[in-house]
Amino acid sequence: MRKPWLLIVAGIILLILIGLWLYLFFGGDDAREDLYNAFGLQGDELPFGIEDIFGNDSATTSVPYLRQLSFRQVIGYVPFSTSSTSNPYVYFAEAGTGHVYKVDAVTGNEERLSNITIPTATRAVFSPNGQYVAVVPNDSRTITVVTLPNGTSTVTSATIETRVADISFTTENVLVYTERNSLNTVGFSYNPTNEERATIFTIPFREAVVAFGETVNGPHYTYPKPAEELEGYVYEVSSDVFRRLPISGFGLSMQASATWIVYAKIENNQPKTFLFNKTNGDLSALDIPLYPEKCASHVETFVCGVTSESQTLSSWYQGEATLNDSLWYFVPEVNYSFFIEDISAIANTSIDMLYPRVRSGALYFINKTTNSLWVYDRDFTSPVIDN
């Protein structure tokens, strides 16, 4: 008599368990949540921030406007716009390998485009059309120009033997770079389509920084490497021009747009920032000291990473100082500027902005602290109002 009762009870328990399994398997998230709630097993809510975009248990379905796009270390990138059928995406090169990836700026999905390895890859620049990437290793003795696959074509590469200093691509998708010899700095162009190389200018000093213009013919701008203890001067340079601009000072560095040059220097032992109008020669001062390397031009305005910490330029370049940036917006035409947001505080991590670029209203940049690629996808042309 006992044995049948035991079998019946066991059978009922078994049926209950099977039913539970079926309920969980086909019932979806709501079912899991109901069950967890019933047993007091509330899942942890994820903080609103960078983990959301990759997390499966996201507490929110919205995409954070400040987000890290990849966990790989990035040495160069180029963002692309959205279309009606696709999200914005970014091509980037990975540090150490030089491999090239494409990342969806909304979903974070990655796809490798090139597995050509450049050992100790340290710097990379992309052509605006995304067809080429130039990668420089740690010793700066070569440039490897990789042609990325397009349709059915495969990845190819070519190597230039050179002691490269500065490097960029023009809007014509031509590589421009400088090489230092014992006395001078020489600018070259390299057309990846026909592998033709040409000399485009010579600068009569060696320790030159070049801010390349949009085309091979320039104008480009050059100045001696900055040092707070030594004076620098800005020159406009192209194939037939080497012209001094009325910009000079100690610790001098600059960034240019089509109309404006924003430059920083030390004046009366204080860092100061200025705007120079290339069209009419007008000069104005900004109230906010900043490093021009942290500025991206956007039409005729600038969006910049600005730190409140007082660090010397040399300590930042040496990697001794890490800066925590906030975003500022500058409208040179009317000498107007405003604070946007403290992105380091929002991300709850140190953001030391480098290589910022604006594309389709979004600001992309590399965080120097971790070499990670980020996007700030919010209207930065208006101040953020806290409600």
Partner: protein, 319 residues
């Protein structure tokens, strides 16, 4: 008859006029307009001063003109401040002195400001990733380049006379050589000057700068087989997690010759000397235990240039 003859003789003797010190209509060539600085840079302020060594200007009214326009605010001032024009543009400064006797003196000075840039390039060490300029240190080699422009580079031949702490470099003016090398002195702010003149000796620009002296400084960095030299300076205490770690020391601003051929390079771990590898500035640390703290010390020194040396240390927590 005799008085008439005496009167004629007296009235026609010129030395009587000189003896009376009458200056009516007499022009004094010792009056000049002096500029400070003597060769102002474009669009910078400078001072124009009347220098009259003779007594002729004593008590005279002074009127100033700038490019022909009278400066009412500057009347009777012996020294005024003006702004130089843009590079390559000329401006005339004129002072008109009117004596009480009605004599006029006009003295003028024309300035054509030029940019005379002196670019200092110390031949001292910095790593590839460092975006700043190397700094001078005592006994290091300095390259200096003078660029003169209006604002385009001047064409033609010029003489460059370089002085470092009042010693003429290479002994005299250099024809068309706008670049020199010299050894940095040991004082804190030595002076470098360059004078640019035409081949006939006419000076067209002159500039003096002070060059700050610094000392070499040591920073420690990690070297990765994947990434190469990582551009983040290590700070004490550095947590050693991996079993093996390669570090490189960068002695910023050490003279490049000393960096390439150091006389003395020493590494120490807790005071005990250790040998680096093929690169005297790199050391690979292998972990043999955990839970300890060690001090890694480094020193580089030249035995001929005694101020060319640097030392530093890094504390490691071995986890």
């Amino acid at each position: 008859m005799r008085p008439l003859l005496i009167g004629i003789v007296l009235s026609t003797t010129p030395w009587f006029a000189l003896a009376q010190f009458e200056t009516s209509g007499f022009i004094d060539n010792t009056t000049t307009v002096v500029l400070d600085p003597a060769f102002p840079s474009p669009e910078t302020d400078f001072t124009a001063t009347i220098n009259d060594y003779g007594a002729d200007g004593f008590g005279a009214t002074i009127e100033w003109y700038f490019n022909g326009t009278k400066l009412d605010w500057a009347t009777n001032r012996r020294s005024i401040e003006l702004t130089a024009p843009r590079a390559g543009e000329s401006s005339e400064i004129q002072a008109v002195l009117s004596s009480s006797g009605g004599a006029l003196q006009r003295v003028s000075q024309t300035i054509t400001p030029l940019y005379l840039d002196i670019i200092i390039e110390p031949q001292t060490h910095t790593p590839n990733f460092y975006k700043g300029r190397a700094l001078p240190t005592p006994d290091s080699t300095i390259n200096a380049t003078a660029l003169i422009s209006n604002p385009n580079p001047l064409k033609g031949e010029y003489l460059y006379t370089w002085r470092f702490n009042n010693t003429v470099i290479q002994g005299g003016p250099l024809r068309n050589i706008n670049r020199v090398s010299f050894t940095m002195s040991q004082d804190s702010f030595p002076v470098l000057s360059v004078t640019v003149s035409k081949l006939n000796g006419t000076i067209i620009a002159r500039r003096s700068i002070t060059i700050p002296n610094t000392t070499p400084q040591v920073f420690f960095y990690e070297v990765s087989t994947l990434y190469g030299l990582k551009p983040i300076a290590l700070k004490s205490p550095f947590e050693l997690i991996s079993n093996s770690n390669t570090m490189r020391v960068v002695p910023y601003n050490l003279d490049s010759e000393v960096y390439n051929n150091p006389n003395v390079v020493t590494w120490e771990i807790d005071g005990e000397p250790v040998s680096p590898g093929n690169n005297p500035y790199e050391i690979t640390l292998e972990k043999t235990g955990s839970g300890a703290q060690v001090e890694v010390g480094f020193r580089v020194q030249s035995t001929t240039k005694f101020l060319q040396g640097a030392r530093g240390s890094l504390s490691l927590n071995i986890l």
